[in-house]
């Protein structure tokens, strides 16, 4: 798909609410990144970054999901349209307040709290909102 000036591409995946599926999602993200035609881009870096963003977002959705719920899944949609990458991760949990998640204090050696920081650092925009039956974390990035 690299030689087209405009690419329309989307994948829609639903996984059980378990961390063992993070590797699969990360591998899919890397493969998508490697198939993109990124002008002046470092393919390995983009692959790592997309892997990381998906891994953090899905781990977050699993953590905030509701284990007792029969709809115990996380849905991931990745779409690319004319160099605009959009990643949506849906959870069925109670949700959290994204605005209340502040950047980590670098001098503070807390073991948690860097996942959203990574997503915010590597993507252009991040939103978290309620949907029917859950929440969605929507992350966008303009590809070079």
């Amino acid at each position: 798909m690299g030689d087209k000036s405009e690419t329309i591409f989307s994948v829609d995946i639903e996984i059980p609410n378990q961390t063992r599926y993070l590797r699969l999602i990360g591998n899919i993200a890397e493969q998508i990144a490697r198939d993109l035609d990124v002008a002046n881009g470092d393919c390995d870096t983009l692959a790592y970054h997309l892997n990381l963003v998906l891994t953090e977002a899905v781990a977050n959705a699993i953590e905030h999901g509701s284990p007792g719920d029969p709809k115990n899944t996380v849905r991931i949609c990745i779409s690319i349209e004319d160099k605009n990458l959009c990643v949506r991760v849906y959870d069925h949990g109670q949700g959290f307040n994204l605005e209340a998640v502040s950047a980590p204090e670098f001098a503070d050696l807390e073991e948690h709290g860097r996942g959203i920081f990574f997503i915010r650092s590597l993507m252009d925009s991040v939103e978290y909102r309620k949907t029917e039956g859950g929440n969605v974390l929507e992350m966008r990035k303009k590809l070079a």
Partner: protein
């Protein structure tokens, strides 16, 4: 999690034989680091040469090891970081926290 343990130069070398350290295996890494510190009290050298990917949970597990080593006045060093893995330490400024060596020889001598 596949980790090889070796004693060299009075230090315990833990070589992570995993390509990924993420939220799935970071908890086990944290436990194994604590166990290694509790067992013999030697300084730890963590060889990350085979790790191609680390997420925030993986960094958190290493930070837990670092803090536990500090509590015991024991050493805790990292070696063999792949460039993109190292860039995650830099993005979070953790490269200023950890002792990071370019080679095993330097880590064992440090």
């Amino acid at each position: 999690m596949n980790i090889l343990m070796d004693k060299r130069n009075g230090k315990t070398v833990l070589s992570l034989k995993e390509e990924r350290v993420d939220a799935h295996n970071a908890g086990e890494l944290k436990d194994r680091l604590l166990k290694a510190l509790e067992e013999d009290g030697q300084a730890l050298v963590i060889d990350l040469n085979q790790v191609q990917f680390i997420d925030s949970s993986g960094l958190g597990a290493l930070l837990s090891g670092y803090k536990n080593a500090n509590l015991r006045a024991s050493g805790f060093a990292l070696v063999g970081l792949q460039p993109l893995v190292k860039s995650m330490f830099e993005l979070t400024r953790l490269h200023r926290v950890f002792e990071i060596y370019p080679s095993m020889e330097e880590a064992l001598a440090g």
